[in-house]
């Protein structure tokens, strides 16, 4: 992929990521997050990770965010829109983020492998869907099954909570 596409999608992601926080309207925030997810998916695809990229769109942009939007629309938006920015909390957030960025830079600075330039990725010849499937069912079979049980427990929990009779 040409580098300008990387910069395009990366900046798309960052701008809309910032818009999620800065927008006062929750629906606008949720939709900005969708665009941000689409940018992330495009970045994954630029690394030839088509499966991860398309799952990003399918699961996050297509399902999770629709549920978010669904809930947000049922809330009273007028109350949210009127809220002022809490400058103290905003400053705290910016400071924490800055500390994280400084830490990442200092770690990368001391990490030998991060300094050398890697050769650009060759076009993968194998099917990445096949590779992920084979790995999930061989090396990572146990964690995969544990995650499956975990999700099942969460599902049963939701059913239980929503079925409870109101007192």
């Amino acid at each position: 992929m040409p580098p300008f596409l990387f910069w395009l999608f990366a900046s798309l992601m960052l701008v809309f990521g910032a818009a999620v926080v800065l927008n006062r309207n929750p629906v606008a925030s949720a939709l900005s997050l969708v665009v941000s997810f689409l940018g992330l998916a495009a970045l994954f695809m630029s690394l030839d990770a088509y499966f991860v990229g398309i799952i990003q769109v399918l699961v996050y942009a297509g399902a999770v965010m629709v549920l978010f939007l669904f809930i947000i629309m049922l809330l009273n938006l007028r109350a949210e829109e009127g809220r002022r920015i809490n400058w103290l909390a905003a400053t705290g957030g910016i400071v924490v983020a800055l500390i994280l960025v400084i830490q990442i830079f200092s770690v990368i600075g001391h990490f030998q492998a991060a300094r050398q330039t890697f050769p650009s990725l060759e076009r993968s010849t194998t099917d990445d869907v096949w590779n992920i499937g084979a790995l999930l069912f061989s090396n990572y079979n146990l964690p995969f099954q544990i995650v499956g049980v975990l999700v099942l427990v969460a599902t049963i929990g939701v059913v239980l909570l929503s079925k409870r009779e109101p007192r």
Binding site: F51, G62, F70, M73
Partner: protein, 355 residues
């Protein structure tokens, strides 16, 4: 990048979009009116041109010339965004569907990605935003209820949609839509794998999960495209038109066209997955001469047209479900059937000898 690749891709995009899909969308509206007329024993549109064939053009001018009215209390930006979002996903989806074999050695698919069917589902799942945002931005009760209904309906039926096709891909072995077509050319269409190989018991056993798969997938596509009997988001009697109530002129038309575009891409996906795509027994592919390449494309769109006719036939025959019936059907019936069907297909593949 290879300039030949770029030029042929551009030609394919322009050709498929402006020569095939968009005219097909406008004539699908005409066909809908003619089919409904035939079913209800009426004549249908017959004034403009021979047999009313220029009716879509007249409709287009009518919609363009109508007043584009924006209600006062709408959220303007999202109100404008929604109709665009309603049309776009349906048209993008066609990019991965192989609509022909080859023409002058160029494969007749715009993007042959290795996650084909997931791409279809991912982009189709974005289609719900147009309706939800349209309903919300209109700032009015009925469109809002329509939008909420549509989002819950589409989410519910996406599950059955995704699960229903897994048996197909268990057989094919990868997610490329071109390999699905290739597999069906070699082993028979998935809707009837036993055709041409009547004595093979394996094919007959295989037909059971495939037909269940097809039925669940088709019904889920009906729900995804908001067509009757699942058109709850725009149930006229309850919602005064649904999510598009506050829209007028070309913005209303875009919602309308989006629905038909979704129906066409849905039919194209069904044809690709279960009816052998562009393959027809006895017709060779495009490597034998360009005339066969053209015939293959024609065969594909003829099959799509038949599927669209079935969509319309169902619409004018069946009554609408009630909303709670629709949700119960999706979650307590189709979801389970699709799930069990996967196990049946996997069991057949694992324990039943294939030849």
């Amino acid at each position: 990048m290879d300039p030949f690749f770029i030029i042929t891709s551009l030609l394919k995009i322009v050709g498929i979009l402006f020569v095939v899909i968009l005219p097909m969308v406008s004539y699908a509206v005409y066909a809908e009116r003619k089919v409904s007329a035939a079913i209800q024993d009426r004549l249908g549109p017959n004034r403009v041109g021979p047999a009313g064939l220029f009716q879509p053009i007249a409709d287009m001018f009518k919609l363009l010339l109508k007043e584009d009215f924006t209600p006062r209390n709408v959220n303007t930006f999202y109100y404008w965004l929604a109709p665009c979002l309603a049309v776009m996903p349906a048209i993008i989806t066609i990019a991965v569907v192989p609509f022909g074999s080859t023409l002058f050695g160029v494969p007749m698919v715009i993007a042959d990605v290795n996650v084909g069917i997931l791409f279809v589902f991912a982009i189709a799942s974005l289609g719900v935003y147009g309706i939800v945002i349209g309903g919300w931005a209109s700032n009015s009760k009925y469109p809002f209820l329509g939008g909420i209904r549509s989002s819950s309906q589409m989410l519910s039926y996406e599950l059955s949609l995704g699960l229903a096709v897994i048996p197909v891909f268990l057989l094919v072995g990868n997610l490329r839509l071109t390999s699905v077509v290739r597999y069906q050319i070699e082993h028979g269409w998935f809707i009837a794998p036993f055709v041409g190989d009547w004595m093979n018991p394996w094919k007959w056993v295989l037909a059971v999960p495939m037909i269940i798969s097809f039925l669940v997938f088709m019904i889920a596509i009906f729900a995804e495209t908001n067509r009757l009997p699942f058109d709850l988001p725009e149930a006229e009697q309850e919602l005064a038109g649904g999510y598009n109530t506050e829209y007028s002129s070309m913005k209303f038309a875009l919602f309308f066209l989006g629905e038909y575009a979704a129906m066409i891409t849905g039919s194209a996906v069904i044809v690709t997955l279960f009816f052998g795509g562009w393959h027809f027994p006895g017709i060779p592919d495009g490597s034998r001469g360009w005339i066969f390449g053209v015939i293959n494309i024609a065969v594909f769109f003829a099959k799509v047209a038949i599927m669209i006719f079935i969509f319309m036939w169902v619409r004018w025959t069946l009554p609408r479900f009630r909303y709670d019936q629709l949700m119960r059907l999706g979650w307590l019936f189709f979801f389970e059937i699709a799930l069990v069907n996967i196990f049946v297909a996997a069991w057949i593949l694992a324990y039943f000898p294939s030849s």
